[in-house]
């Protein structure tokens, strides 16, 4: 099969025109309004945050190798876990997939030239920088030892740099709002006319659902942190019991944001997995509309369940009951997604390349993370498991086993698009294997510890937990090596990878119609609007070493102009 000359023109490299090379100099990056460059800058930023917080995690795990003091005092340990949590949550996980991957991919998937508000996009990145800088300032001045949750009254009385840290989280919140607002408007108004809602790739649906949460929940975090700062500076008596305030009210405020924020972290990951499973099974995703609506359902239900973080906090029993009941309802849309992914595998043609390995390991780990959520949503078992290592293991299975795995899978999937070069697939799979094994070894023992009663946030522990902690620590180092290898393979590919064509994986969503790396305007040609999972429309062209539209070899194709926007 050989491509038409026109097709060659489409997928040929336009070196001088691609977004990486169209302009140069540090300013062309720092002041860029191009969503792709902002995405890359975000990616570098969140990776630095990941490694920083990851180092904290390894220090923590080393300290916990035995139950007595090894090399950290209790105060130092508390600062370590707080900074690990705060940086991971606010500076890494929340912006990771939406702001880094999403920024790069979303407009291209839509067939748009850019997001709706490029300046706001850049502002979001700089707010991220400022917010992270504030968190680091807290770390370098007086430390922070409140836990990432900033629970009052401890956060009012501690001598550490709570105000810097809360300012940091506040600013990061606005960064997140800006990204969400931008994406929501982009999806609504920047679609070409022929890009209907049900032609959107599922990653966009999940980002859209994420944006809804970012817009509705994050402002509440903002006001909560402002009130906390006011409380600390001048004791306004809203959260401070010494002046008639209510500490449990703070928890309501905090979790009104932070529970939906959990879905900010996981929904985009689910979107990535939907793409990966479908592309590498080379089969149309099963139950498109169920997956799409389950994203929105999770986003909305996420606002109704925050009280399940507070079952033992002293909130009233009626509220506890209501929140527990609603919590179970969130399980259903999540389960729907998993079943649909399985059904997509069925009768497909499964390529076990690195991104697919990550996707399968996501299903495994997220399966455990999700199912262990049942123990915590159930009231009587939660009373026992609350604030133990069981909870720690549960959310790490979801956040690391889920989001980080999906981020890595997504990076391996879109890396050739971002840089036009292919990574070493074998080493990629080795990295994936190490991450998988290390992760399970780290966190599985924590389930056992937790149900046996090991409380979280403990610098010193009783001897019966030692064996589990040691397994966990060894696992953490394997996990660390795995992540390092995974990123190493990617970075190596940028400089030494084999150059590849526009669509090496035969994916059908629109971003693959651009050249790799894409040109400054994303598409040098009119977009061919095909369905996002219509892999039958893609054929492999040996001459160009890339997949191209079947239409490019068989002349008749319905032309769809990509111009007039749809009504919002």
């Amino acid at each position: 099969m050989s491509a038409t000359p026109q097709a060659q023109k489409l997928f040929g490299h336009a070196e001088e025109n691609n977004y990486l090379k169209c302009s140069s100099g540090i300013k062309s990056w720092l002041f860029t309004l191009d969503h792709k460059r902002i995405g890359i800058m975000y990616l570098i930023g969140v990776t630095v945050a990941l490694f920083l917080a990851g180092i904290f995690a390894l220090i923590l795990r080393s300290e916990l190798f035995t139950g007595d003091e090894n090399f950290l005092t209790e105060a130092q340990y508390n600062q370590m876990f707080t900074l690990h949590g705060a940086i991971m949550v606010f500076a890494f996980i929340i912006p990771s997939i939406p702001a880094a991957l999403g920024n790069f991919v979303l407009p291209m998937m839509l067939g748009a030239k850019d997001v709706a508000f490029p300046r706001l996009n850049l502002a979001s990145f700089y707010l991220w920088m400022f917010g992270t800088a504030f968190l680091l300032t807290a770390m370098l001045t007086n430390g922070l030892d409140t836990g990432w949750t900033f629970y009052t009254p401890y956060s009012i009385t501690t001598t550490t740099a709570v105000i810097y840290a809360t300012m940091g989280a506040f600013i990061l919140g606005f960064s997140s709002i800006f990204t969400g607002l931008n994406f929501l408007v982009t999806v609504n108004t920047m679609r070409p006319k022929s890009m209907g809602w049900f032609k959107l790739p599922l990653f966009i649906w999940s980002l859209y659902a994420t944006s809804i949460i970012q817009i509705l929940a994050t402002p509440v975090l903002g006001i909560t942190l402002l009130l906390l700062i006011a409380e600390r500076v001048m004791h306004i008596g809203i959260f401070d019991p010494a002046y008639g305030g209510d500490p449990v009210l703070f928890q309501h405020f905090f979790w009104f944001y932070s529970h939906p924020a959990v879905y900010i972290m996981i929904l985009p990951a689910m979107g990535v997995i939907s793409e990966l499973i479908s592309v590498y099974s080379h089969k149309k995703i099963f139950g498109y509309s169920f997956i799409a609506f389950s994203s929105v359902a999770i986003a909305l239900l996420g606002f109704l369940v925050w009280g399940h973080h507070m079952f033992t906090s002293g909130q009233s029993q009626l509220v506890t009951l209501v929140f527990s009941a609603i919590t179970f309802s969130v399980a259903i849309p999540s389960a729907v997604k998993v079943f649909n992914w399985l059904a997509t595998l069925y009768k497909g043609s499964i390529k076990l390349v690195t991104p697919m390995c990550y996707a399968l390991s996501f299903i495994f780990l997220f399966g455990i993370g999700g199912l262990t959520g049942l123990f915590l949503g159930t009231l009587s078992t939660d009373i026992h498991l609350h604030d133990t290592y069981f909870v720690v293991a549960h959310f790490h299975f979801v956040m690391v086993g889920g989001t980080l795995t999906a981020l890595l899978g997504g990076l391996y999937h879109w890396w050739p698009k971002m840089f036009g070069r292919m990574y070493n697939d074998f080493l990629g799979r080795v990295g994936c294997f190490l991450v998988f094994v290390g992760f399970n070894l780290t966190f599985f023992p924590q389930f056992v510890m937790g149900s046996r009663g090991m409380p979280r946030r403990y610098a010193r522990y009783d001897p019966e937990f030692e064996i589990f902690h040691q397994a966990s620590t060894i696992g953490a180092f394997i996990l660390g090596i795995g992540i390092l290898l995974a990123f190493g393979v990617l970075v190596h590919a940028v400089f030494f990878g084999r150059k590849i064509g526009g669509n090496p994986f035969g994916a059908a969503s629109l971003e693959w119609q651009s050249s790799s790396p894409p040109s400054f305007h994303n598409f040098d040609h009119k977009i061919h609007m095909n369905a996002p999972y219509d892999f039958g429309a893609m054929v492999y062209d040996e001459e160009m070493d890339t997949y191209i539209q079947r239409d490019f070899v068989t002349p008749e194709s319905p032309e769809v102009p990509a111009a007039e926007p749809t009504k919002a």
Binding site: P247, Y346, L371, V448, S451, P463
Partner: protein, 361 residues
């Protein structure tokens, strides 16, 4: 990371946490069940566990099977299959729902058992503070370790003096946060004799991980009373002071010269301290008393004004005992003779010497 470097200089203090009792394994997942709640929690946990395992095995099993069977290989093609199947999708959305309802109902029932105290329960007051527990029994005894009677339901009326804490006994499967500014309640009916661990599970500051103590379940009321009884009048003021110190002060002060949240109190008697405003003060009877009743008045340089006032919380006898103990921590301080007499006699002696009797509140 300047602060961390600064903290390296500080060494760990001697721990007042009681020795951990031997872990008594109940099942692979749980410690030995020592309260009635275990029958609410453990079977439900195992039920969810097996249901989850079946689902998980199914998911992963199918996943691996599909990956092997439909792997991309020469000659293998995507087979035609439905792009969606509404009936199937609704089925796998709805059917697990019934299981979830079961979990919810079962869990809620257990939860109400754990939260609604039976009428015949005895009440024990729990005071949580950074970083120790204090238990007050109906007969007036007070301890820092918890003592219970087997098969007698007991309600804990809990109050925090500073920040959030949480009362957790894994063997009892019971947990409740202790919230400043309100009372929280929880109850338990111990069913096994023995010693178990009690943890604080709500992060509460530097020594959060040392805020743990033991729960001893006794067979009879007599044994319990014996364990909690402390003959204040017959012991020496120094010993009384030590006991009080462990209850009230050890959360923030060491009995050595090592700094904790507050200054270490070992060897401090007679020393001259520099205050925050640059002036100095000698640690003597008057300064000691003032520091307890009005801690903010003369702050030693380098410390925040964090200590609560004990005005009305400690009577004169108790302050006297504490003073005796603190004094005894300084090797070269002159210990008055009466400090080695039983407390009741010491009180009379001191009264004679001062020409007045310390008024008990």
């Amino acid at each position: 990371m300047l602060n961390l470097i600064g903290l390296l200089a500080q060494t760990e203090s001697e721990s007042l946490v009681p020795e951990a009792p031997a872990y008594r394994e109940g099942s692979y997942w749980f410690p030995e069940a020592a309260s009635t709640f275990a029958k609410d929690v453990d079977p439900l946990f195992m039920l969810i566990f097996w249901v989850s395992l079946v689902f998980f095995a199914g998911i992963v099993g199918f996943m691996i099977y599909f990956v092997i069977k439909y792997r991309d290989r020469p000659g293998h093609k995507v087979e035609k299959s439905a792009s969606h199947n509404t009936a199937l999708e609704i089925a796998w959305s709805v059917l697990p729902g019934f299981l979830l309802i079961w979990f919810f109902v079962d869990g809620a029932t257990g939860f109400f058992n754990m939260r609604v105290t039976p009428g015949n329960a005895e009440q024990i007051q729990v005071i949580a503070r950074q970083f120790n527990w204090e238990f007050h029994y109906p007969n007036g005894d007070a301890t820092t370790e918890l003592h219970l009677v087997r098969n007698r339901p007991v309600e804990f009326v809990m109050e925090s003096r500073d920040v959030l804490h949480s009362f957790f006994v894994p063997a009892f499967r019971q947990k409740q946060d202790v919230v400043p500014g309100r009372y929280t309640y929880t109850w338990v009916k111990p069913t096994k004799e023995g010693v178990f661990r009690l943890y604080c599970t709500e992060y509460c500051g530097d020594s959060h991980s040392l805020m743990k103590t033991n729960v001893t379940v006794h067979n009879t009321q007599e044994e319990r009373d014996q364990a909690t009884f402390y003959p204040w009048e017959d012991e020496t003021p120094i010993k009384n002071g030590q006991r009080l110190f462990n209850m009230k002060c050890s959360g923030c002060h060491n009995n050595t010269d090592v700094k904790k949240t507050g200054p270490g109190l070992g060897g401090i008697w007679g020393k001259t301290e520099t205050l925050a405003d640059g002036s100095t003060v000698e640690v003597n009877d008057n300064y000691f008393r003032e520091s307890i009743l009005n801690p903010g008045a003369k702050l030693v340089a380098g410390y925040a004004n964090q200590m609560p006032s004990f005005q009305g919380k400690l009577n004169d006898d108790q302050i006297f005992w504490l003073r005796a103990y603190i004094k005894s921590l300084t090797p070269d301080a002159k210990i008055e003779d009466e400090l080695n007499l039983p407390a009741s006699e010491a009180r009379e002696k001191v009264g004679e010497a001062d020409g007045e009797k310390p008024a008990a509140e």
